[in-house]
Symmetry: C2
Subunit: 334 residues, 2 copies
């Protein structure tokens, strides 16, 4: 098991209480490894970072246009959203265009990620629905593609369903991983999830931002996805979320997406870069600090942008009482 000395420290008072190890791969659209830390070949799951790639066939098939999905709705297809009012109504809007309801979504229900929204719902005694699930946009996109293909909406989560096969094909092609080698698992929301070396996921993101070498249909879909999340970053995540703030703070120069178990993938279209960072142990608390630090050291964020992202770069650790007891600090040199 290859280790990494690229670490993030969790301080309590003046000493380190826990550490997180970081693996990183930065590639260009040709797949050349430009920067690395730990093991750039580390095999893990793309989780929700794949959503931007999975949205490709929703556009390429003509489904998005046939059902008139607008840019906010396309951005929501790529989201792990907060379950805020605008996310819920937008997911409902996609389903409405299909003549579907929230009961068609098979992602399951969980409380909104956005704590004030979840708290308000609890106080109203309102139970979360599938629309509040952070993946409801992705599932609505899957149903859009399914409807356009005339496939059954009942089995859209199954790997054998044409929706999942088209998404698998897109992820394989974008990441240069043969279908026979793509590792498959089940995601938090029940659909197939894709396991590959982080370097290959970085390639998929480099191509997403710089699709010049791809077919015209695919390149066009890549550009539409990037344009949609650039224009509607709040639909990619939501209030107080890093993914949204990163796009806002950089004026859309950097498009990044978190995934569960501490994985983060981003593209910088103008520099033809794909970047994937994985916290070895899967803990999200170290992910944003490591991403900001790595981007800073690679001169991909300006000083003022790093400053605007300070609460993600060096988050304060509080205890039950809200007392400040520590801080999280990256401690590495790329």
């Amino acid at each position: 098991m290859k280790s990494s000395n690229t670490i993030v420290r969790v301080y309590r008072g003046s000493i380190t209480e826990s550490i997180h190890r970081v693996h990183l791969a930065v590639v260009n659209a040709q797949g050349t490894l430009l920067h690395e830390a730990g093991d750039p070949q580390l095999l893990t799951f793309a989780r929700s970072t794949a959503k931007l790639i999975q949205t490709l066939p929703v556009i390429e098939s003509g489904a998005a246009d046939h059902y008139g999905l607008d840019e906010a709705e396309i951005a929501l297809c790529c989201a792990s959203h907060n379950g805020e009012a605008e996310h819920v109504s937008t997911a409902r809007g996609i389903l409405g265009k299909l003549g579907f309801y929230h009961t068609h979504l098979q992602c399951g229900a969980h409380e909104p990620f956005h704590a004030p929204t979840a708290q308000a719902m609890r106080e109203r005694g309102e139970a979360p629905t599938t629309l509040h699930n952070n993946c409801s946009g992705k599932h609505s996109g899957m149903l859009t593609l399914s409807a356009h293909l005339g496939a059954s909406p009942d089995t859209y989560m199954s790997l054998q369903h044409p929706v999942q096969q088209l998404m698998l094909d897109a992820v394989c092609a974008m990441s240069d991983v043969p279908k026979s080698q793509m590792q498959l698992g089940i995601d938090g929301c029940g659909v197939p999830v894709f396991g590959m070396p982080i370097r290959h996921l970085a390639l998929a993101f480099a191509r997403l931002g710089s699709p010049e070498g791809l077919s015209e249909v695919r390149a066009n879909a890549c550009r539409r996805i990037v344009a949609a999340v650039r224009k509607y970053p709040q639909f990619l995540a939501g209030s107080d979320r890093f993914d949204t703030r990163l796009i806002e703070v950089t004026g859309g120069r950097i498009i990044g997406k978190m995934g569960a178990e501490g994985i983060f993938a981003l593209t910088i279209p103008e520099q033809s870069l794909g970047f994937v960072l994985k916290i070895e142990d899967g803990n999200q608390r170290a992910m944003y600090p490591a991403v900001v630090e790595a981007l800073k050291q690679l001169s991909l964020l300006s000083e003022s942008e790093v400053h605007e992202l300070a609460s993600f770069h060096n988050p304060i650790v509080h205890n039950w009482q809200g007392t400040e007891v520590g801080i999280i600090r990256p401690d590495f040199k790329l």
Copy 2:
């Protein structure tokens, strides 16, 4: 940063999605290092594992006897409890013996760790109080000692307060760490917390179980604490909790205590052993699997005991929908 190849794997489907690194120190009551993994000198915080040691002055001072604390109440002083009805009523009972109320506890309130209890409270619209805080037993013990010393109950959380000074002295003496070298921070519940190499914490636990070399007063207090948690393991943690099950399954042969940020300390009195294991990244999900595996490999648990602890040894990973998507498995050879 010294690494460790002693790892716990988190599988999704058939591949490893994340890994956790483990540091371990096993010592005898003389402090001789008998077994190790990773860095046995790793400096970190004892967190709630220290509660058993912190209870020493509550007994040694005569406070516990003066106020008539029974064995269940002494066990609760050592607990990170579930906030179940019996925990709440026992904490209230200790305070009642002092003429105090839950408002004297400064630990803050949080929902019970025990999910069904928390859920039932939510359904009743009942807000958690300080009694539900997993540390309410420890804080009640602190107030018992404070009352016996005639000290102010208002400032018992302050490092300068005689309660905290006596507890610091006990932790230093038991772990052979000079007061000048003991690292201090603030715990989740607001009181001082003790940072030291895990090998030293293991020594404190070896001595707790085998106090023959200590003063008569201290040795007696050690024996009373071990006897109390052995007799009332449900007061150390609660329903479905590893700390409780470990004592039950081994018939009290092993007394262990978890702490936040992935630390676990145990004593095996009959073998004069102290054992401390720390998950480097602080994630509790890997802690119980690693503890069971290490105890198994060191022949400190029988095969049937390992079998009874199977759900802690190799926990199944479920997604939002309750589908089985993976498993956690230790992967090391000590």
